[in-house]
Symmetry: D3
């Protein structure tokens, strides 16, 4: 290895969960720099704006000096290359995750062979936490205080419990 | 174990299939009471109204004295707790089903640890039957008489073969 | 076996990829006739019209004398039966593909037991190529020259990089 | 449902783990009686005798009045029928577990249709604990105090760390 | 396609099951010739000799004029090439099957690219039947009359219920 | 991150394959040091001695200055801790691999939380290559020149094609 090892942790983070933060902490221990990269305009209706998601993430990672938060448009792999990153970091939980991740990783390798996709396991307490489930549980009146950081709970409450586009089932 | 064992079998049932009924009969043999719980307002366009689905299910389970049909809004696990249920009953077929079911079961356990999710296998003749496939086959002119109970066939015919929102492919 | 062995290779082909063509070539070596069958009106917004997809496929398979291109509405299995086909040919890559394919194959066997679904593996170089990923990569400005035939690249360029309905993520 | 609901929880229990005990406690809350059934003579070399495994399990479940420990030879489904059980209880963790379990459950249903196999999830803290891994970690000098009950730790120590037939890898 | 389409259906067939016969019948309808190929000396202890397995299979397929039974040593793909086969036919049931099958198919394609591996689904009634489970159920005194052809039941009875090397569990 | 990033790539390497070497090269680009760690005495009969495997690996990685080859007994995670490693590197291919790897990774995290398991994808050309398949193909007379490095081919030839314990099927 030569030069600093920069890694990208991409996602929608709508909103960030404790599972995301667990993985960010793990990644920050392994790489010189970790860039949390929020996908702008992913074609899905989002609950939080990119600015809100950036704020929530910045607050949640401010104790990690080698982590920064950015957002990007277009191909992830191109953003990674522009940043000089060698690594795309991804968390994996279920087998179906894993297959989609594999497909993306192979496609990205085809487009930019010098960037590697690296998979890590979130803490097992977070194996069932996803942004979608958090929104769903909150919308239906459940307590999400153990699933997301405190600043995300506050912002969810500020949004209120009624919004569209959060279907409860697969 | 103390007290009666009440279980909830939740779903969209749009429409009920022979696979659903097979599982209801299996569950009715294992638990004191089984509540078939129709999810109202699940964010998806449905073919049948909740009232129609309730009627179809009531007709189909009337030979099972310990089975009742209700509908619910909001968190399933809260509905289960209100009903004094100890068990959420789920059928599993494919591996991808199973993973989503696992995630939901772990989330529900987190929210209400005293309610257990229990999985049972539908009869193998029903391993490929889903409400989505039934609607698709019917819409395209296929015969669904072996896939759903007779009262559902009649109601499908009453709807006619043209409706929107039933995409044929994944 | 008696009589010629006709097989159907169904799909959306929006657009055709090198993975599709690899499988068509493999199928053409095994069966007397192979009909590439484009699903019309699949309920999804498509990038290319059925006419455009037919043209792209016809150009791409013109070196294979026993391959023809058609389109169909309604139940695949009925189309297969009308054509006198004995075989529905499907490519499989990931496990989640496989499960959906299994469910469809069992349903089709129920509806027309005399038509068999047969699975083949695309070349491993194509294991990550799908129409959805091709559109996504192209839309974001990536090079898809290794993923689709040259005539598809041209038509993608003619469409331009801006269109709706091609969400980048799962 | 009529009559008491007896369930069987079968396994090798060589040795019992905290994952097994977690599932026994969950099952004891759902069924009138739960019989932990140790498979005698399963064709594999075991570390503990059936008598030792029975003792360890009896000690570990003595706080659960509706749980008993027995051992059996021959077909599980026949033992279940002899005991008047309606349910075979199984824990599931990984997808590969699940497939083997499904195959066994379908075979058992074929042989005795009136006994149902029911699947429950162990606590997520136990998702990686298996008897095989416990023996392996102990043999190599690792601490298994969080993985098995205290009485099992003692008996493992009494056996010593050297025995044959516990291969470390798949 | 040019020339006759010969396919190989390889396996241990120790003993043949109704699932194997179901697949042989399906394959015999699709290909000009189907060679059932018994693997000699597969490194595992077998219950039946290759001669006994050949006899059981010959009796069971005698109504299928384009099916023959042979045995082979060494690489399957070389045997296939010697026979002029274009196809290796494999049945798939569970996902774990499927992955191993994929690995073998890719390796075989690497060694002999002109032979294709083709997968078909056994009838769903046979989805849980394997030679290993048949031997296990029979050994423990269960009835296997629905799982294997009558001539296999007779030969199992002639062997008696006591033999070594048939472990009941994973 | 502080201090150098040492990673361990453990395995049996009996023998090393091109898939192993592909992963070693990928890992060597990401971490300051990579230790290839051969598991001694894994309870399985091996074809090559630990000394032979060490030699083959040393020859194959001599162009990579930050890679060394060692062997270990006992718990992998303890070996990793002794070496000051922060990372255990694992390649993943199939879903079933992945599940076993996940279980091991969670167990290792439990035993030594400061060491992370990190997963990378081998090149897709190696997705079907395993030590077991290489031995099997070679034993049956197939050409393995594309599957292992040249020095491994030579040593396989020196062993001859007859040895025990290499069963051809699952």
């Amino acid at each position: 290895m030569s030069g600093p090892n920069i890694s990208i942790y991409p996602g929608s983070f709508d909103p960030p969960t404790n599972g995301h933060l667990d993985l960010i902490e793990r990644g920050a221990r392994l790489f010189h720099r970790l860039i949390v990269a929020i996908l702008r305009n992913d074609g899905k209706t989002s609950l939080f704006t990119v600015a809100e998601r950036t704020e929530m993430l910045c607050e949640a990672v401010k104790h990690l000096p080698n982590v920064s938060v950015e957002s990007f448009d277009g191909l992830l792999i191109r953003f990674a290359a522009e940043k000089g990153a060698r690594v795309i970091l991804r968390g994996i939980r279920a087998v179906s995750d894993y297959e989609y991740e594999l497909q993306m990783a192979l496609m990205n390798r085809k487009l930019h062979p010098e960037v590697e996709t690296v998979f890590m396991l979130p803490g097992e307490a977070y194996s069932y936490v996803s942004s979608r489930l958090v929104k769903e549980v909150f919308r239906l009146g459940g307590d999400v205080g153990d699933l997301v950081p405190p600043n995300v709970v506050e912002r969810l409450k500020a949004k209120g419990r009624v919004w569209e586009g959060a279907a409860p089932s697969k």
